[in-house]
Amino acid sequence: MLYRENGQFKTTYAADQQIFPIAQDRWTILGILLIAFIAIPLLVDEYLFRAILIPFLILSLAAIGVNILVGYCGQITLGAGAFMAVGAYAAYNFHIRIEGLPLLVSILLGGLTSALVGIVFGIPSLRVRGLYLAVATLAAQFFTDWVFLRIPWFTDNSSSGSVSVSNLQVMGWQIDNPVSKYLFCLIFLTIFALLAKNMTRCAIGRQWMAIRDMDVAAEVIGIRPLFAKLSAFAVSSFFVGTAGALWGFIHLASWEPAAFSVDRSFQLLFMVIIGGLGTIMGSLFGAAFIVVLPIVLNQFLPALGGVFGIKISTAGVSHAELIIFGGLIVFFLIKEPHGIARLWSTGKEKLRLWPFPH
């Protein structure tokens, strides 16, 4: 099928303001959803669910959240891990303290709690910008690290903050095997991605982007930085917190604060930068890249060493992984600072013009 937008005339603004104004895009998305919801659960084996697909879905959700704050609103954060932690532990507390609270509600309340904390830690953004803000968000990271490690109330008095959940179900649907976990996360991601897309194409999204691009001009138009920035912090933290709750409840089932360390924060930031700042699609690309890369390297390096007759030790592999990972990040930033999403859209552009390049 050719990728063409000619002939698809829009006669109303409503038609022009659809999420995917081009028909071929709509079909592609529909196809992807069908594959994701039907084909994959039937075909894929357990290892892939556990090692790649579930982490990918959850981290994509978190990356969308980070992208809302960093990519759309222009506020750099190095504390995303903290909001995952808040989401996970808050959901945990709702789950164990309120008898019979449905799982879905616990998870969403985890997200909401994270949104509130996000607003508090977003306050510095009203006074400082850029890299100063980035460092300020580390305050959130180290503070929550400490809280969940040292204050036993939050972790049901368990030692060193390690907690676990079991026997999860939603309205009678047992979420215990990889396929059900995968589907549960997929539903979350699909709905949240849609919400994010809607927000970013509406007034609130334009407010965020205006603040990002030129905050003085935004103010002059009547955008209140207070509302725009704090709403971005809140929405972002809601997404990230929900992802945190899923990560704890669904992916790990038992976890401790280290699951949401500053490394996690960096990882999420990598995802949105490599995927593409300011695009929802890019968040997914970035998450896929970061989730898959270490696994590929892990499989590939010993094999490569074998070809040259070198036996690479486990430690050697993990060092090489670090080097290659770091190198790839730098390479990416140099070659395509706008991320995978940009490659994707230039690809589409080419396809649209094909076979006449100009």
């Binding site: 603004y13 409503a14 303001q17 919400l195 809607n198 927000m199 509406c202 007034a203 609130i204 999204g205 334009r206 407010q207 982007m209 205006a210 990002r212 691009d213 030129m214 003085v216 001009a217 935004a218 103010e219 002059v220 138009i221 009547g222 955008i223 209140r224 709403s231 929405v235 300011g278």
Partner: protein, 260 residues
């Protein structure tokens, strides 16, 4: 439509502004009448842009007050100014680089948006209807400024002259009652300047918008403005209709004398 020049709508009293040791404005007073085109002229660094920034609250003057439709403000802030119907363009184009033309202009509708975040997230009825209504309004401005062909272009890719036009479009999308223009024709060629002049006159004429204009091109200023304020080194050295200003010896020596 014909809008008669009316009463004083905006009155500045003894405004002084300094940045550290630099006195950008010293004890400036002048007024703007409803529906008029009021020009501010002066050599580089005279404090013209600072004046506009004081009017809509981007800079906070140390002294003086602003009286807008009879209401006194010791300090304006940008939000209050926007609420009161003041919009503006910028000397160094301040468009939102990451967005296309339509989105830039849609931001101008921001104060008129009523739907909330949740409704927008769900693309709920009110949010959707509102979005479409504002889009229609923005399209009117697009037609008015004759920029239909670039509506989906990211503003960063536009040539300078068109960027200035989009900047004006964003300000117009607010449906302002007072429009502040900071050198809207700087860096344009003759043809673009003529277009811009036409737009300014049309805006003033059709919508009755009061316009405060900074411009270096004397011919244009003398041509289209009703009254002119002259600043030099942060001080007011002339105020009156174009002919008076042109005849003032002080102005000639300080400003016209320099450029000729």
């Amino acid at each position: 439509m014909n809008h008669q020049i009316g009463d004083v709508i905006l009155d500045l009293k003894n405004v002084s502004l300094a940045f550290g040791g630099v006195k950008a404005l010293t004890d400036i007073s002048f007024d703007v009448r409803e529906h008029e085109i009021r020009a501010i002229i002066g050599p580089n660094g005279a404090g013209k842009s600072s004046m506009l920034n004081v009017i809509n609250g981007v800079y906070r003057p140390q002294q003086g007050e602003i009286i807008l439709r009879g209401e006194h403000f010791a300090r304006m802030n940008p939000y209050k100014a926007a609420k009161a119907g003041i919009s503006r363009t910028f000397q160094n184009i301040a468009l939102f680089k990451g967005m296309n033309v339509i989105d830039n202009m849609m931001t101008g509708r921001n104060l008129k948006i009523r739907s909330n975040l949740i409704q927008q997230a769900f693309w709920w009825g009110p949010a959707r209807r509102e979005e479409l209504a504002h889009r229609a309004k923005v399209e009117e401005v697009i037609d008015f400024l004759e920029i239909q062909h670039i509506r989906k272009t990211p503003v960063g890719r536009l040539p300078y002259g068109l960027q200035k036009r989009v900047d004006l479009g964003r300000a117009l999308a607010m449906e302002p009652s007072i429009l502040l223009l900071d050198e809207p024709m700087a860096g344009m060629n003759v043809e673009e300047k003529q277009d811009m002049c036409r737009f300014i006159l049309d805006i003033n004429d059709q919508f009755g918008t009061t316009i405060v204009l900074i411009e270096h091109d004397m011919a244009v200023v003398m041509d289209i403005s009703d009254r002119v304020v002259v600043l030099d080194y942060g001080k007011k050295i002339g105020d009156g209709n174009p002919d008076e200003v042109r005849a003032s010896p002080e102005v000639i020596s300080a400003y016209l004398g320099v450029s000729h």
